[in-house]
Amino acid sequence: MEPFIRHTGVVAPLDRVDVDTDQIIPKQFLKRIERTGFGQFAFFDWRYNEDGTPNPEFELNRPGYEGASVLVAGRNFGCGSSREHAPWALEDMGFRTIIAPSYADIFFNNCFKNGMLPVVLPEATVNEIMARAKERPGYQVTVDLEKQTVEDEEGLVAPFDVDPFRRHCLLNGLDDIGLTLQHADEIAHYEQKRSPLLPVTAG
């Protein structure tokens, strides 16, 4: 996994609450068996018109947000399905980090597994960043995981909390499976003690 240490980029404002994973990546695109190539389909129903042309009304299609790599959104971002295609699509669309007041649980988890940092900031701070990004397309912030801050060049310095273990894994780009396999002996030991009454799937 690619480490995440610090990232500076243009902020794209998605001023909506409860954005669900069906919007982030609609089901018709979940049939692919690869991990890549989902970016073109992200926010599909909002982003494109019936004829496939970009919908100029959609926030992220407005001029100035091309190449944005920081997504700022309303509360409970990523609710709904467990599809990891959602963070894959956002990453493939160019986002390295998200800023929101809160996230749905499985989506939040899935981001970390893909080297993408979901930053939690108080609603008022998120609204401030949202407002600046809306007023001045091209507005940039730096998300620093080492210092645990979001900063801009206009004096904003917003500290954020992050689980220390997750921070450690992201900073070092650690592979979860590799970490778990360091405990292979304990897993084997646990398996020896498991009750023989427990169900098995074959037969």
């Binding site: 909506r16 609450v17 409860d18 669900d20 069906d22 919007q23 609609p26 089901k27 018709q28 979940l30 049939k31 692919r32 068996i33 690869e34 991990r35 129903d45 309303g74 509360r75 409970n76 609710c79 709904g80 399905s81 467990s82 599809r83 990891e84 295609h85 963070p87 809160s102 749905a104 649980d105 499985i106 988890n109 899935n110 597994k113 893909n114 689980d163 220390p164 273990f165 979860d176 499976i177 970490l179 778990t180 396999l181 405990h183 304990e186 897993i187 646990y190 398996e191 498991r194 009454l197 427990l198 169900p199 098995v200 799937t201 074959a202």
Partner: protein
């Protein structure tokens, strides 16, 4: 008795910790891993790339459900990409030795319907699946939750999962449910009050007289939608109903082993004096049949209610979200729910397509005909449910009423197969998500119980089934 009273959740959690260290998530052992075609291909690819294998194929089981066509299974699958995804699952199961209930199996069905049906879902287990509605299995007193594809790969490779310990919430539903008020209405009422993020970070244990009085099917409906309240998992303590449901199922322990298992299962319910991090209390007597009006399951009112006015919300974000939702749904504030006409009815999904759901829906429409402007379809949750319904003659009741009778699968719950709403079509659906475009781009979904959906199909609009003559 141990000195420290414990919750059902804690007992299962503690029994499954393989490794624990301060500042790290716990490593939990997984007893049962359910796999389907959509969230697994990239996980199997990951295994191959890193030269790893499936640690416990005997604790893993796969089915095809999300993509499968629900018409005649002998016809070729017309969607090439869907077919490729199903073939990929079959190849992966073959390569790694995982049992698979494929399209042509008479045990095939929605992953959350077949687990309990096969008797694989049992009290006290840890169960995961790359699907958010894995919370369904908590109805048996198991700790069951959805995971992403990276975690699917992790469980395939290690049979363990890294998990931070969630908080616990008791949702107690006291009293008795009135006639026409179902498990679906209970969970919609709960989400309506605590909100779609109200359960974030928690495992919910549902308790109280109304929950105890529910059948296993009803408890599954409630636990299924825990995720729509944002919860990590939902659970109900096992009791005699749980044991009776499991007895004799193919993968349940048999004979003496069953008795020993029951003795163990009886130790699982929350001890007296254990305290939850949060408690929410509901009164079943106050609950009515519910109907969603918006674009998430928390946007819900009793059938006697009206579509809300965005201006009535205190917060700006809620006013804007409500306005957007009403525009999408094509509804005006103040409209009575019973005055909303519908075009389609979908009876199906892992929330409400078990045998009891089909019986309840059929009972509403016996001898009646669907409204001429409504197209209704029934998609059983699994092939065994379909066979059972046919043995009871339920399919004839549906067909006589003009309902379409299909093969098992997820179908129009998410519309990955050809069953979708057309833009602007309005559907009374027994599924779990009314998100924009969930059942088809521009489609408008209202979540209801099977009884409410069946009655709406006959009337052509929502009706209060407590006043329904049948």
């Amino acid at each position: 008795m141990s000195a420290q009273p414990k919750m059902l959740f804690e007992k299962i959690w503690d029994a499954h910790v393989v490794h624990e260290a301060p500042g790290e998530p716990a490593l939990l052992y997984i007893d049962l891993h359910l796999v389907h075609e959509v969230t697994s291909p990239q996980a199997f690819d990951g295994l191959r790339l890193s030269g790893r294998t499936v640690r416990r194929p005997d604790l893993t089981v796969a089915t095809m459900d999300h993509n499968v066509p629900t018409w005649d299974r002998k016809l070729p699958i017309t969607d090439d990409v869907s077919r490729q995804q199903m073939e990929t699952l079959a190849r992966n199961c073959e390569e790694f030795g995982i049992p698979l209930y494929d399209l042509h199996s008479d045990k095939q069905g929605i992953v959350h319907v077949i687990g309990p049906e096969l008797g694989l879902t049992q009290p006290g287990l840890t169960i995961v699946c790359g699907d958010s509605h894995t919370s369904t299995h908590g109805a048996f007193g198991a700790l069951a939750f959805g995971i992403g594809t990276s975690e699917v790969e992790h469980v395939l490779a290690t049979q363990c999962l890294q998990q931070a310990k969630p908080k616990t919430m008791e949702v107690r539903v006291d009293g008795r449910l009135g006639r026409g008020v179902t498990a679906k209405d209970v969970i919609l009422a709960i989400i309506g009050r605590i909100g779609t993020a109200g359960g974030t970070g928690y495992v919910i244990e549902y308790t109280g007289e109304a929950i105890r009085s529910l059948s296993m099917e009803g408890r599954m409906t409630v636990c299924n939608m825990s995720i729509e309240a944002g919860a990590r998992a939902g659970m109900v303590a096992p009791d005699d109903k749980t044991f009776a449901y499991l007895e004799g199922r193919p993968h349940a322990p048999q004979g003496k082993a069953f008795e020993r298992a029951v003795d163990f299962w009886r130790t699982l319910p929350t001890d007296e004096g254990a305290s939850y991090d949060r408690v929410e209390v509901f009164d079943a007597g106050e609950m009515a049949p519910h109907v969603t009006w918006g674009t998430n399951p928390g946007m819900v009112v009793p059938v006697t209610g009206r579509v809300p006015d965005p201006a009535s919300f205190a917060e700006d974000a809620d006013r804007r979200a409500t306005k957007r939702a009403l525009e999408y749904m094509g509804l005006k504030p103040g409209t009575a729910i019973e005055d909303i006409p519908i075009d389609r009815v979908f009876i199906g999904s892992c929330t409400n397509a078990r045998i009891e759901d089909l019986r309840a829906a059929a009972a509403m429409i016996h001898g009646k005909k669907a409204h001429p402007s409504v197209y209704a379809m029934v998609v059983p949750g699994s092939m065994p449910v379909k066979f059972q319904a046919e043995a009871e003659g339920l399919h004839e009741i549906f067909k006589t009423a003009g309902f379409d009778w299909r093969e098992a699968g997820c179908s129009m719950c998410l519309g990955m197969n050809p069953d979708i709403l057309k833009p602007g079509e309005r559907c009374a659906s027994t599924s779990n998500r009314n998100f924009e475009g969930r059942q088809g781009k521009g489609g408008r979904t209202h979540l209801v119980s099977p009884q409410m959906a069946a009655a709406a199909a006959i009337a052509g609009h929502f009706v209060d089934i407590r006043k329904w003559e049948n």
